[in-house]
């Protein structure tokens, strides 16, 4: 069967809370976003890749192609945020590797160059993606909902209201979560991310 139908099926399952479906969805959304990133950049290498625009564009394409409801939209943005996070963090790590000079290639692939540009765009706003990722993984262990909120906001570019809807919490709750997550992540990043292990711990 065609891929869009597969995506639909998985979105449907994922929107009912099917974890396995969400995992299966991941590679499909990943491919979609990569393909989209490539097609967006063809012909204009100078354009900055905007991951959040990509995520919205991917959703528009999918939802115009198929008849998908608001519950699928939430599942999609959830998956897309995770995908975007992984793409960007991988790209940031790869760049780090190249910088240290232990990579095999001198020149990044075209696809990677665009991703590197996206990483630059994110990091120019003061975010070290690799360290953020380390802190976010810790936050996931102690409070997954807050980590998901950061993912939706930071990587999928959802507004507070949309993110609250995606997580099915009230706007007020989302705002509280956001305040806490920001302060916590900032602390975790500036302290090298290890100092608080004693307090919040992480399950073995």
């Amino acid at each position: 069967m065609e891929r869009p139908s597969e995506v639909t099926r998985l979105l449907r399952a994922a929107s009912t809370g099917d974890r396995v479906a969400l995992d299966e969805l991941f590679p499909l959304v990943y491919d979609e976003l990569r393909a989209l990133a490539r097609s967006c950049l063809v012909g204009d290498g100078a354009a900055t890749l905007q991951p959040t625009a990509l995520v919205h564009e991917a959703w528009m394409r999918l939802s115009r192609q198929e008849s998908l409801g608001v519950e699928h939209e939430r599942a999609f943005f959830g998956a897309a945020a995770t995908v975007m996070r992984r793409i960007l963090v991988d790209a940031a790590r790869a760049r780090g590797t190249r910088r240290r000079g232990d990579g095999q290639r001198d020149e990044p692939l075209p696809d990677e160059a665009h991703l590197a540009a996206a990483v630059e765009a994110f990091e120019s706003r003061g975010a070290d993606l690799v360290r953020l990722e380390e802190a976010l993984e810790k936050l996931e262990h102690v409070d997954e909902r807050k980590a998901r909120l950061v993912e939706l906001r930071f990587f999928a570019g959802l507004g507070m209201r949309e993110a609250a809807a995606a997580l099915d919490v009230s706007l007020r709750q989302a705002e509280r979560d956001w305040t806490m997550a920001r302060a916590w992540l900032h602390g975790a990043i500036t302290d090298g991310g290890a100092a608080d292990d004693a307090r919040v711990g992480s399950p073995a």
Binding site: M60, S67, A198
Partner: protein
Amino acid sequence: MSADFQAVEESFFGALDLEGPERAEFLSALEQRDAALHAEVARLLDAHATRDGEFLLPPGEESLEGVDIAGFTIRRLLGAGGMGVVYEAEQTGPTRRVALKLVRSLPGVDRDAARIRYEAETLAALDHPSIAKVFGAGAFQHAGLDGAWFAMELVQGARPVTEFADEEGLGREARLDLVAEAARAVGHGHRRGVLHRDVKPDNLLVDGRGHLKVIDFGIARAAGLERDATLATRAGELIGSLATMSREQARGDPDAIDARTDVHGLGAVAYQLIGGVPLREVEGRALADVLRSIEEDAPRPLRAVSPGVPRDLATIVDTAVDPDPERRYAGVDAFVADLERFRAQRPILARPTPWLHRLRLFAGRNPAATRLAALLLVVVGTATWYVSRAADETAEARESEHAARTTEEIVAGFHRSLFESVRPRRALGSEVTVLDLLEGADESVRAELSEYPAALAEVLGTVGQTYLSLGAMERAEASLVRALEVAGETDAMPTIERARTLGAAGMTAAYLGRYESAEERLREALPVLAAAPNTGDGHHTSALLGLAMVCEHEGRKDEQVKLLEQVVAVANSARTNIVGLAHASLAARAQADRRFEDALEQGALAVEVLESSGHPDQPDLARAREAYAGALMSAGRLAECREQQALSLASLSRVLPPEHPDLDAARFNHALLLQRLRDLPAADEAFAASVETRRALLGDAHPRLAHVLHYHGWLLMDLDEHDRARAALDEAVAVQGRYLAGRGKESDAKLGSYLAARGMVESRAGAPADAVSFIERGLAHQTRVLRAKDPALASTLTMLGTVLVESKEFERALPHLERAYDIRAGHPQLAGHWMTANSRSALGGCALELGRVEEARAHLEGSIEVVRAALGDGDFRTQTCIERMVALYEWTGEGERLAEWRGLLAGD
């Protein structure tokens, strides 16, 4: 969440909610109680205070306070939308406070600073007290962000116009003042050659002193968003404008946007200000859903959401927000002028939208069958409108002296008489159906409208299309043909309207079995419908489906499949239910061609598409279920088949009149299932009913009547009602013969099948010689028209062989049976099917009778398990095959096997 983390969070917020000495007190108490917890909370509070966490904000929400951009120092955030962020900023040079809008670059958007400045110069030339001034514009780059900036007049104490009106408790007059003020400002822009392109409440701000300012005039275009960005990359902005967006904007075609787009925006603002609700509800709906609704649905008439609004005012607003730009005011000035007329209590120029136009829009979206209940709602709703209109009769009389008798007015007058025909006595205590209404219309329309051909053609066309959707084919035909005649005589109908009427007439003819005239009409309509700007409206695809129907009946299979695939391709982006319907037809085609795997796949796809794309009672879904059920039946999945049929029958019975062909087809399919489930008396009743319906509906020369008679004949054979079986099959042969004669033909495959079945009656009745003669006649017809390998031949050959076997003419039988098996075994979709195995078993039985034991053994042993698995041991065909196994082992004397197979014979 870990318990420790929770404690940290609680204390963090506990401290955050306090200030100054209270917070210090809270923290020192915490430190005494739990030093580690205190340290962690203090660290979080520090982090919170530094605001360094802002890097986490999504793009566009970064705080830029204190940052300089293009000579402006940003002071505070005023608001953020999808299109950009607006800050209050300070300019040095001329020292002033401005609203600084930053529009971020998007992929593919032109960031040419020179062009932005050029556009800004045009905008700066707008000089109107109600338009916020543009001071300048350009491109900017800052910390990884880049895009365009626009410096605009800062509106102090700005509130969106709707908010202002509600909070200040403004009355209708004051609200209309605001609408008129905004409209005059927009009109000023138009005279300077600038369209606003995004008129919505958020862009009409009212300042602290109650003055209205139009902001963002032409900004979307100047920022390159409209010209360069795809609809998708504007998703964020779209969401802000969806509630008021016009159809041409939703389509994302910048060339379709003109002054009437701004008329729509102003109308939408008026709609919300006067009606109290947004033009459309977008909260909580999926974007794709809203876009589809903009494309397909007309907004609710203003008086439907707010009955207290005066009729003329409602007409003005409804006209301004009409989805079709052609039906709106031609410009903002005309809109303002009509508003002024209303306020001066003079007659307005706009005319109410004829309800039949709405009805047709509705029927057009639900082609081929329309839900009566929904139609009645429309009818009742409009009837109410007319009743209230009648209350204004006196005022009306005065106005009508001035007004010209336009087509629309005539149509409206006609509608009134239409409703009078059903109210109130006739309607009292009895249900008035749309059919009743239309009958009334049909009677009076020709007389009343004879002097107004344009109106007459429109009404007749609509009446005809509605008849078509109700399944009243003869009446549809009469109305549509007359509509076309009137249109032809006077040249009064627009080309596209005529093509639609012609398409509907083609569909009607196809339903009535008048395939030649159907094809002629559809072929004439198709090029026009295909070239129409909006092919997603269903007329084009319906016509393609109609033509596919013609091809199906004429046996032009390849052409049919090609047309259906074209439907899928054309409709793929627009109307999922048409796609679903095409999949359903492809399933039916595959089923007829015995491509069972394809039929299952297409059928499942059709049901899946339609289940996810509309109302559960939509007739298209029922049709898809029917096609899928047919495939399931062939696959022997009877329980699933029964489930699909039950759903479809229940739904069709709710929605369609009893004599509708689709409902009849569903009953026919159900009869087939009953037969398959061996509930023969029930199946007999169902087939007989279907025969009656078709005889009455289709006449005595229609292939669909012959088709059901054929099946009924087989069933009657199973019931041993030989006389009735003979009568049914004789009639089938006669009907099909008349149908062929009418087309100048003598033979087709079906006529052959009916003759063969007729022969089988004689075989069952113990007259094998007569049987052979009938079947041979049938075979002769089929040989004339079918390819040598056609599976339809295999059925007839099998019958011939079987009858010959029964009359002990084994030598004669064998070659027929061999050929039948060869055809089936060589057919890609039939190779593993139980019918093929059944053929093979018959061949084995015959070989055994001729003493060719090893050949017989190979055939019999190679086929029996397939038959058993597919039909079960209880089926009479399985029993026949088992009897042959018994005969084989009796012959060879294999006692153990003999006992085993004997044990499987029923009754043993």
